[in-house]
Every structure is written in C-alpha cells, then in structure tokens.
Symmetry: C2
Subunit: 456 residues, 2 copies
C-alpha cells in the first residue's frame, strides 16, 4: 500500500478564528499616509469601506472570531484538502516530500472566495446593499460575484478591457452568479470617460479599473468598494488556509522545512504563510518563500517605499516594496501576479527578515506546471505554477544535498480558465522577460517627492 496521499478535515476542523499577524510583529507596521506624510485615520476610509472592515484593518488583536454566517458559507467547500504530491516527487527523483494545500476546490477555482465571503458579509451587516470592485484576469471578480449572491448584495465588476475581450468565460461566470461585469474604462464614470476621451481604444489597466470602481462606490447610494488583496484584513481572511494546513501537517506527523506561496498582491502567500511566520517569530526554524515573476520583481528588485496603490494616486500611500505606481508589467500569463506593489504586511515581514523572496522566469514556471499536470493530474493556474517551480528548486537542492526536506506549497488555484497560456507555451510562443534596469529606474522616478517610511 502506498503512503498516505492526503489529509481531509471535517467541518469542525475549520478554524473559527482568523490569525492577525499584527499582534506578533517585532516592529509595528507603519500606517498609511497622505502625500503630506501624515497618517490616514480610519474615518478617511469610511466612504470607501464599511467601518467594521476598517476596524479589522487596523486591529492588533491576535485572534478575531469568524462570524457564524461566514463559517456557514465557507463550509460550502472548506476545509480544503492537503495532498502529498507523491507522483510529482517521483518524477523529480527527489528525497523531499512535497505537500500542497489545494485551494482550487472552491467554486470559483481559487483562494479568492476566502475573503470575498467575509467582505460581503461585513458589508451587508453594515447595511451596504451593493459592492463594486475591479478585476484583471477575473479570479477576484468571480469570487466577489459569488459572495455577493450568497449574501444578497448587488455586485458590479469593472474588468480590464483587454481581459474582458480575451477572457469572455470569466465574465460569463460572474453573470451566472448574478453580477454585472463591464469593460474598463467604461463611460459610466468620470474617470473612465476621461480616459476614453483621450485614448478611445485603450486596452485598460488595473489602475484605471480601480479608479472607476472606487468612484462608483463613493458616488452611489449604499455602495462600498471591495479589494481582493493587499490590505491587512484581506490577508487576515486568508489565514484559514495556513491554519488548516498546520493542523493537516500535524496529522501527517510533519512540520514543514519550507513554506512556499506565489505573490502578486500578497493575499495567497499571506494565507498559507502567516501562521508559520508566527511560529518563526516564536523561535521555529523554518524557511518561508514568496515567489514572484521576473517580469514583475517587486520584492526582489523594488525598494521599500511609500507608494500609491493605483496609477492615479487615488489611494492613500502604503508602506511597501514597489516598482513605482506607473509600472506596467509585461503581459505574462500569470495575470494575478502583475501588480506594481505588494501588501504592506508581506513587505513588512520581508523587511523583518522573516521571509525570503525569489523571482522565477515564466518558462521555468510553465515547465513545472506541465510536469505537475502530467504527474498529479491537476492543471495549475499560471500564478500557482510559480510556487510549484520554487518547490521543484527546493526539491532539487534536497536531492543534491541528499537530504529529506518537507516542503509545503499553496496550490492557489486551477488553470482551467487560463488554458491559452498553456497553449502558447506548448506551441513555443512564450518567452522569458527580464526587466531591464533602465526601465526599472525610470519607473521608480514616480516615487520622487513622496514621503519615506521610517527605518525599522
């Protein structure tokens, strides 16, 4: 009989509290500030977010209870299974053991509903009837569409036009869940109209879509805006992933030597890793790796600065690693990893030396993803392939050192809605991209004159 290949949990094993890493940080997280460098208080965010979520955003309480109604909805698919990737290990010929947390089992196919559900709940509790958001590749738009339907909210999604045109199936998913999805820039907002007047055939961008979604939220009745990553409360909602994984690894009789997640805005990485970062803060010897694309090397090549979340600088300035708010990444297929900045909490724990970051080129990621599909069956999302490639590197090193190594990765989503990237890869139409230093320096000029975050 082969060794055990998975650990499944029952309803009762799902966490009843989220873990808030702000309670355990060696140094406190610098606050968001205005262009004058003065901290932005909770009240300033009230037109954009409901106050109960703003309270979570600034909370330093270690454990925060998950409301019963949120638990009920998360139980539609959670707890998610933890698998051991026996067949992938065998193909690599490694002595390492590779475990993966399968977040692709959610109805939307990724980890995103873990925060969409509580965000919809807290908005409804606060009396909000309608949510707006932006989406790039569409994972987040789908998750929020589903969550809004489950809680009876109206949902409006501004989808970057080029994705809207190229990925019609994501829009259809949102429609099935009752959401309205429009291409951005649209003629529904001042921000959108201004862009269209200047560049009628723009492909759009996440930054433009954010501007439209925020404008819609603050100018419409009973409406707020919802964000799928970056913010503290969003990352905290994802910690159910890591908390479950800790329990499952324990049931396997293992503790990981390495924990790996891909990073775009930071929520999927934080979800698997923050409970382990907590262990590390309290003395555990563990390597925690955030994996980004070489085409968008925020953590590995960006400076730690105060920068805006969007190109139009509508958001407060956040303390984070950034490539500059005007940075436009190459069109790699891992759309969820194409963001100029990084969640302040992920940036902070990197600065604290609690995690490491690595950038991996696209072709190596696809190669690992195809090997995964050929051995484990499941087709990974292009974002997820970055975590798989990093795990393969760790496994190879273990092999070279002749050591067993326990690797845990967050398998953040399946790639069934992203098959064009695989097609391009298999037809030899993809290439790697290394960001030229000149381009990076030019992009970082946008940071000139902005406030500078305090040293640790």
């Amino acid at each position: 009989m082969s060794a055990q290949s998975k650990v499944v949990l029952s309803d009762n094993d799902m966490p009843r509290q989220w873990y808030n890493i702000q309670a355990d940080l060696p140094h406190p997280l610098p606050p968001p500030v205005g262009k004058d460098g003065k901290p932005i208080g909770p009240d300033a965010l009230a037109p954009v977010f409901p106050m109960n979520l703003i309270e979570q955003e600034v909370s330093t309480q270690r454990w925060i209870d998950i409301p019963e109604e949120v638990i009920e909805k998360l139980l539609l698919w959670r707890p998610s299974p933890l698998y051991r990737a026996h067949q992938f290990e065998k193909a690599l010929g490694t002595p390492a053991k590779i475990y993966y947390k399968n977040e692709g089992v959610s109805p939307a196919g990724s980890h995103k509903p873990n925060t969409a559900i509580p965000q919809a709940y807290y908005n409804r509790e606060f009396g909000i009837q309608r949510l707006t958001t932006e989406t790039g590749a569409g994972q987040w738009g789908c998750a929020l569409a589903m969550a809004c339907k489950l809680f009876g909210l109206i949902c409006k999604v501004y989808m970057v036009r080029i994705s809207f045109d190229q990925k019609p199936f994501r829009k259809m998913m949102m429609n099935v869940w009752g959401a309205e999805c429009v291409a951005s820039p649209s003629n529904l907002t001042q921000a959108g109209r201004a862009i269209l007047a200047k560049t009628p055939d723009t492909p759009g961008s996440l930054a433009i879509a954010i501007s439209e979604a925020i404008e819609d939220a603050v100018t419409s009745k009973n409406t707020r805006y919802s964000l799928g990553s970056v913010l503290n409360h969003v990352l905290m909602h994802q910690t159910v992933v890591g908390l479950e994984a800790q329990k499952q690894m324990k049931m396997m009789g293992e503790y990981p030597d390495v924990v790996i997640g891909c990073v775009g805005g930071g929520s999927n990485f934080a979800g698997i890793s923050f409970p382990f970062v907590c262990d590390k803060i309290h003395g555990k010897n563990i390597k925690i790796v955030a994996v980004e694309p070489t085409a968008c090397p925020t953590l590995t090549r960006g400076p730690f600065v105060y920068d805006s979340g969007d190109v139009a600088m509508m958001t407060p300035l956040l303390p984070m690693y950034s490539l500059g708010h005007g940075f436009v990444p190459q069109p790699i297929h891992a759309g969820g990893l194409r963001y100029h900045g990084m969640a302040p909490l992920v940036s902070h724990v990197l600065r604290e030396g609690l995690i490491e970051a690595v950038a991996i080129p696209q072709l190596e990621c696809y190669k690992s993803a195809v090997l995964w599909a050929h051995t484990e069956g499941f087709i990974p999302a292009p974002e997820t392939s970055h975590a798989i490639a990093a795990a393969a590197r760790e496994a190879k090193q273990a092999q070279e050192e002749g050591k067993e190594r326990i690797i845990l990765l967050n398998w953040s989503g399946h790639g069934l809605m992203d098959l064009t990237g695989y097609e391009a890869y298999m037809n030899g139409k993809l290439s790697d991209y290394q960001l030229p230093d000149n381009d990076l320096q030019a992009s970082l000029k946008a940071l000139e004159g902005l406030p500078v975050p305090p040293k640790l």
Copy 2:
C-alpha cells in the same frame, strides 16, 4: 452551529473492489449479437479492446479487485466528498435533505477519469502503447488524455468537428495532458475521408468519430480503442462513486429514499446507483431515478431493442433502449446526454423495474442549476443540472406531502468549461424541445429487420 455539511473520507476509505451488478441481476443480461442474431464472443472484440478488459466486460463475479496502481492514481483526487446542500434546500423551502456526491473535484472536472484510469492501466498491462477514442463535448477526451499520460500511453482523440471548433479549451486541456486531438471527420481514416468527400463541410457527429477511432485502433500497431460509457466494464469502474456514497451516507446516519443521476450513455448514473440497486434487489425500499433530457428521451420513449452503438453499424448490436442508431438529437447544451442508445445494464435494470426514468426539459434544468450556483456556489455541468432538477422535483413533492425525504444525487461535474450554455440561457436564447412523435417513429424505422432481444 449549523448541521454537518459534508463527509470526507481518507485514503483508506476508498473502495478496493468494484461492484459488478451482473452478479445480482434477477435475469441475466442478453449478450451482444451480430446482425444475424448470433451472440458475439469475446474473441470478436479482441482487435478493438484488450482481452483483460473484455474479460471484465463479460464477468459475472460480484467483486473485482482494483489493481494497486489504479488505486494510486485514483487517490490523486478520490475519495470524493459528499456534501449536504443546506443552502439549496433552504432556497427551495423543503423539508427534504439533499445530499450530493461531488465528482467535479477530479482534475478533468467530472466522473469520467474513474474509468479512464483503469482503462489506460489495463491496456498498458496488456502491452498496448496507444489508445484512440472519440469525444463529443470533450469531457471524455480530457479524462482519457490525462489517464494515458499518467500511464505513459500515447492518446489520440477524434473530436466532433462542431465541438472542436466551438470548444477550443477542451482541446487545449487534452494538449496539456499530451494527447493529440483532431477534428472529426478527418482525412486520417477511410471513414473520415469518405464522409469528407461527400460532405466537406459536415459538422461531424459522435457516430462518425467512433468509426474513425475504431478504424484507427484496428489498423494501427499496438493500439486499441477506449469507450467512455455504455459498456459493462465502464459502468463497473464508476461504482467507486456509489460505494463511497454508501459509506458516507452511513457516516451521516442516513439512508437515501431517492437516488438520482443523469443519463446519457449511462456510466455516471450507474456509478452512483448500482450499489443501491443491489440493496434494492436484496429488499431495500428505495427509489432510483435516471434523468434524461426531453430532447433525447431514450429511456422514457424509446423501445427496448437490439441496436448498434453507431450510425455506421460498426459495433455489435447491443440490447438496449434506443431511439434508432440514426437519431440525431437537437443541439441542447448537455452534450454528454445526446446519445441515441443507453448502456445495456442501465436498460436492463429499467426493464427489471429496479429503476425509474424521467425526462426533463432543458429550461427547467438550467433554472435549477442557476439556483444551485446562487446557493451552493458551485456551477454545475449542463448534464448535472438534470439530476439537480429531478432532486428539486422530489424536494417539492416532499414539501407538498410534508414529509422529510432523503435525496442523494450524483453531481457528475462542474460547468466551468460549459459557460456558453449558461450565457445563452441567461440571455433568453434557449428553448425547450419536445421530440415530435413523427420524428421518433421515422428514426425507429432504422430498427426494422434487426434481431429482437428475448423477453424477460
């Protein structure tokens, strides 16, 4: 705390044997015959299938061991979870409890890999290096592509041209798993070339694709043909579904009053139901319902006859309910349910009075599927929506009678690759279709002169 919402099983709970209903049939299944009415022996099938699978096809042994290597691959995603559809029940306002077995968690997104894996294994064991098959909507082609890759076989899929053109993502999935997928009719076979010569712009059909795949198999070196439904051994491979469900229902402290599955070729329905049919044969009081579309009412309006599996009559004659081998169903979106015949074993247990059949129109199915997505989150495959609609009817009846009723349905797959059907439904572009009696009678003329199966 809400009532338990799921039962998950560990590796050790996966069945180690398939259940073969042929051991328990009140009357034996009539054999396949030639046009002369004489039984077709195993040897006649040897050019098409490997002998180890032919042995399974004719076996009357009740339990057949699942080989260790097959178990290893099935464990990549099995056992599948059993959920209770609390939120769907609540929306219906029914006192019924609705449980569903989620076969959408497989890498291919449906129940099809349950037989693709053992078929690839037995062919490899028999020394076969290459498999051919046909696929309509693409579920089966994807499952076999994955299974072949896992066992190191070459896989060639003939995909009905209209689906090949309209569903490029299914082809990409097959490519990721290393299979070659060509549009049928192709110029690679005599059968294909003959059709193309007559009708160069034909949209193709499953019957043509079957002819091409069989011709390729019998004329190529070390190659056999693989079928995704209809045959006895295929249905038997699917019984892991029902055997797991029995265990899971027991862990819930329940036994179903009603078991429901949709039927096209019959494998998904047989998978969930045959272990319960066994209980019924041994005295259990249980209702077992096969659900088909009104556009392809094989069980509800077809006669029980000897008919061919394909339009060109290349296959032996099978004892089954059939609409006539020349029947071309309307292009409804549940592509997996568009087959003129029905698995002999499913046909046989209907004739024995052990199961019931019902036909449901397309719009009612989509309506139920959308309600499901709005309450349970998961978007069902169009095929699966037929089982959901039947469960909703049962639940409504329970409500009218004021009775609790325990309903179990096979949630055969997710609909993420079938979103165009939802889009058409939500835009009001779908309609119902009732097969006119004249058309049915015309189609049944193809049966004239064929042998007639024995009475029970």
